[in-house]
Symmetry: C2
Subunit: 542 residues, 2 copies
């Protein structure tokens, strides 16, 4: 008889722990296959430490093949489910071949993605803390801000570069700002032109206190600790919109910043949105056995699912919170239930009361609430670190993380900015009304096309030229001639309204123009006189 096939979509806490538990319970009884876009498991609570450089990227992750030696691990992207044929459809390889994977049981654990739709401009101008590359990017971004702040002679730019904002005061937000402050303060000695007082770190929290999941006393302690270290905490304050230079708060207040870390706003992944299974608030509805409603062989858990803790759930607290702690427990119950079903035994409803909660504030202090006891300071921090080291998979990783934490105590923090692939492609930029889009004497990085809003292009009068002013709106574009002639900008573009602009990278623009006749013809036929007064074809050296 052929083994039953259990297919798991997702390599996070839910997927990995479910696979481990199934293996443990049943040995070789099932053929287990796990599909993940990355070939590693990310230990998400360590991401802020990766961003701050306390630990190495590879110490926050573990190869899936190492964690799950007997499970078939497939690095692929999940695109659909065919419940009738019992197939999960994935896309694999650089040629993006579609492959159907047959299952007897399917576990959906693909997780949530950041959804910034409700915050205008956040998609383009904020950073998130969801995965490894986010942590990497935040780190490089902070270093870039410090580098520029150290050499610029423009005080407005300097202030902007040295204002760091975190949106959200939950666990992720608090740990992120704690690590950011520590990192910035420890690296300032490399930047002779930046004073400690020039740096502003701000946390924006919509509720009445930070860390609302913890007892009020610990929230208070965490707040005092962070404030003492220079973090400004804005309570009862939301975020509204962002541009490359400005964050507008719910109250209307504007902050001159280019660093916004967004730890709020979660939503379903495109895959979950696409599949035809019962959903609520972007999560898959499951019963207390963790089976998807109406299905006996499709399961879900973690932040992918809405997991009821009661038979008749009504309130928000009647559902499991989407934390790693709960997810790991759900994975265990889910594995037991699949095994029970296959063995003809009764399934058990999921239930769990958490034992404690921990948060690090950076700089060797933390807060904890364990078994009803509240702790704070160094002891809570040590507890937090030991707790996570114990949870880390594999002796090698534990040793490395432990040693790196130890080195970190006495070695200088590095400020190496390992740049990622250059930002080619078509990127959106959002500009607030009144904002300067670009100034004179810059090199443009791409073709600018207005998607919505209104902007003004203005070139000051010179000896042989009158002042030139033009309003531009949706579908208008600028930069094509400047890019072609490789000259610097001579005019100024300002946003008259909140505007969205698509910037097509200059290399891509050149390549597309060369390859696609219709695109080339369009730009060639543009009256060269159209911009005659807008561009002085001066070489940048003169």
């Amino acid at each position: 008889m052929q083994k039953k096939r259990i297919v798991i979509a997702g390599g996070g806490f839910g997927g990995v722990f479910a696979a481990q538990q199934l293996q443990k319970l049943s040995g070789d009884q099932y053929q287990i296959e796990l599909i993940s876009e990355n070939n590693y498991f990310v230990f998400q609570p360590l991401l802020p430490e990766v961003a701050s450089g306390t630990i190495n990227v590879q110490d926050a992750v573990s190869p899936l093949r190492l964690l799950l030696p007997k499970v078939k691990v497939r690095q692929a992207e999940v695109v659909d489910v065919d419940t009738e044929k019992k197939q999960l459809i994935v896309v694999q390889g650089r040629k993006r071949v579609l492959i159907p994977i047959a299952y007897d049981h399917l576990i959906l654990a693909t997780g949530q993605v950041t959804n910034l739709e409700s915050f205008h401009g956040f998609e383009q101008h904020s950073l998130t803390m969801k995965n490894l590359s986010d942590a990497h990017q935040l780190r490089n971004h902070i270093i870039q801000c410090l580098e520029l702040a150290d050499v610029t002679e423009d005080e407005v730019i300097k202030k902007r570069m040295l204002t760091f904002v975190v949106a959200g005061g939950g666990f992720s937000g608090v740990e992120t700002i704690g690590e950011m402050v520590e990192m910035i303060q420890r690296t300032l000695r490399f930047y002779p032109n930046i004073n400690k007082d020039d740096v502003e770190c701000i946390m924006v929290q919509s509720g009445a206190r930070i860390l609302p999941e913890l007892p009020e006393k610990l929230s208070q302690y965490a707040r005092e600790k962070l404030e003492k270290r220079g973090v400004e905490i804005l309570l009862h304050e939301g975020v509204k919109s962002a541009s490359a230079t400005t964050l507008t708060l719910g109250s209307g207040k504007k902050l001159n910043t280019s660093t916004i870390v967004c730890t709020i706003g979660n939503g379903p992944s495109p895959f979950i949105r696409k599949i035809d299974l019962p959903q609520q608030h972007g999560k898959i509805c499951v019963n207390r056995h963790l089976q998807v409603e109406g299905q006996s062989n499709i399961w879900s858990l973690g932040d992918t699912a809405l997991v009821p803790l009661k038979d008749q759930p009504t309130e928000r607290t009647d559902f499991a919170p989407p934390t790693a702690q709960f997810t790991v427990r759900e994975a265990s119950q889910l594995a037991k239930n699949i095994h029970a079903l296959e063995s003809g035994k009764a399934m058990t409803a999921f239930t769990f009361t958490p034992r404690g909660m921990l948060a690090s504030l950076g700089n060797y202090s933390g807060v904890a609430s364990m078994f009803g006891i509240n702790m704070s300071g160094l002891f809570a921090w040590l507890l937090w670190r030991s707790f996570y080291i114990a949870l880390l998979p594999g002796f090698a990783t534990r040793l490395r993380v432990g040693l790196n934490w130890f080195y970190d105590y006495f070695l200088p923090r590095t400020i190496v900015q390992v740049q990622q692939a250059s930002g080619s492609g078509c990127k959106y930029m959002h500009f607030s009304a009144g904002e300067l889009v670009f100034d004179q004497n810059q090199l443009l990085d791409g073709l600018h096309i207005v998607v919505s809003g209104k902007l003004e292009m203005r070139i000051a009068a010179t000896d042989d030229q009158q002042e030139f002013v033009k309003q531009i709106g949706a579908g208008d574009h600028w930069g094509e001639k400047i890019l072609e002639n490789q000259v610097a900008t001579t005019g100024v573009v300002t946003a008259l309204e909140d505007s969205l602009v698509l910037v097509m990278d200059k290399t891509d623009f050149g390549r597309l123009k060369q390859a696609l006749p219709s695109f080339r013809d369009y730009f060639d036929q543009i009256n060269p006189e159209r911009y005659s007064s807008a561009i002085k074809k001066t070489d940048i050296n003169n």
Copy 2:
């Protein structure tokens, strides 16, 4: 009196060591500013070890601000020189502002870039080993090949994924293939479906032996060592062209591979090509004092310059080789000469006889030629490691690299693939005559536009449709309807001639279509019947 300003363009061996020497010689006498695109110095000889995961990325690099505490470090891109105004022009910040930097002395040390123009398709389909992101990319690429080879059921793809080629048998090529073989062999235990014999590592060297800079005996030893470890070395063989699936050698032989590491082909950077200073073979001509010909206050060294070792150089050996060892010595002489000139003393001609050469072969063996003595094996390898540890800047880095090498001996190699930003933008793909461009049932990743060559699109006959065959050439494109309808391909595209195709990422295509009216109109007006027989609008699930 104002201090003389010495501006250094480039943060590699030449720039960093010149700045250090100037500081050492003169204390605070000069105002020294160093311009670099990265805020760190890369220890290039360690790049193969970064690619293989023996050491961490940050252990191969040092922050410039840490190395040069009294030098003003500016992270910017060098774009031009104005020798009359004595200004170096740089672009700085995300807004790409042009900034002129005044100098009294200018040192040009921007280095060379990989130039793959003479190898058809290499620009698009080969990897290089020039900088940190190259090492990172090679590492991720190898892991991706292993991941795919482990799960694919197509033997041709499996073979392709497991064939690894290095072009060039110099220091960089030998160290790269040595580390690659070690990495692959040590990680194979995670891939149950790959046998050791499935893997092929091939080195292509145009000369009669590898490591031609070393004595013949050591070349022979290195060759035997590598061959014993499974590397196939092709001597008297060149590379001709590359596609996503095939490497064509000089002899016409074709290899089924998607991993080509190119360690050959160097050329001047766009900056050097642009500036108006005497050049030969893409290098700046300097005199024996390291002054650029015809200039008294512009200097160059390293692989940026053609440095004569004799007064009347004629042969290739009359010029300094572009190695780190020579560059460091040149930097020292250059610093002394600037200081001599400013102090009214006589300058000294550059001269240097190297003391030895070292190369690592991976797997704890190496070759060395020091003070006329040839060494090989473990001792040479230890010498190599100690030598580099000693050269590493900073105690912290030395300790970390040393410890990581030590761990590496007894800990399993990690296979985490930290993915970089997704490949958006417009990318070129090169296809050889006869090559399958895509098959049925794939999801396209972008709009495909033919730049040159000829291809054939073919859709097999079905019950309700005749066979469809069409030839396409420069300016033609495909994929726009498939992308719009989000369906899988139903046809097959094959290259009839060697062809170059520009692929515009599907996200970028969608964004540009939405933003730019002329682009949208063009694609909307395409007769929807044009592809009627080429696309079956079937959902991928049916």
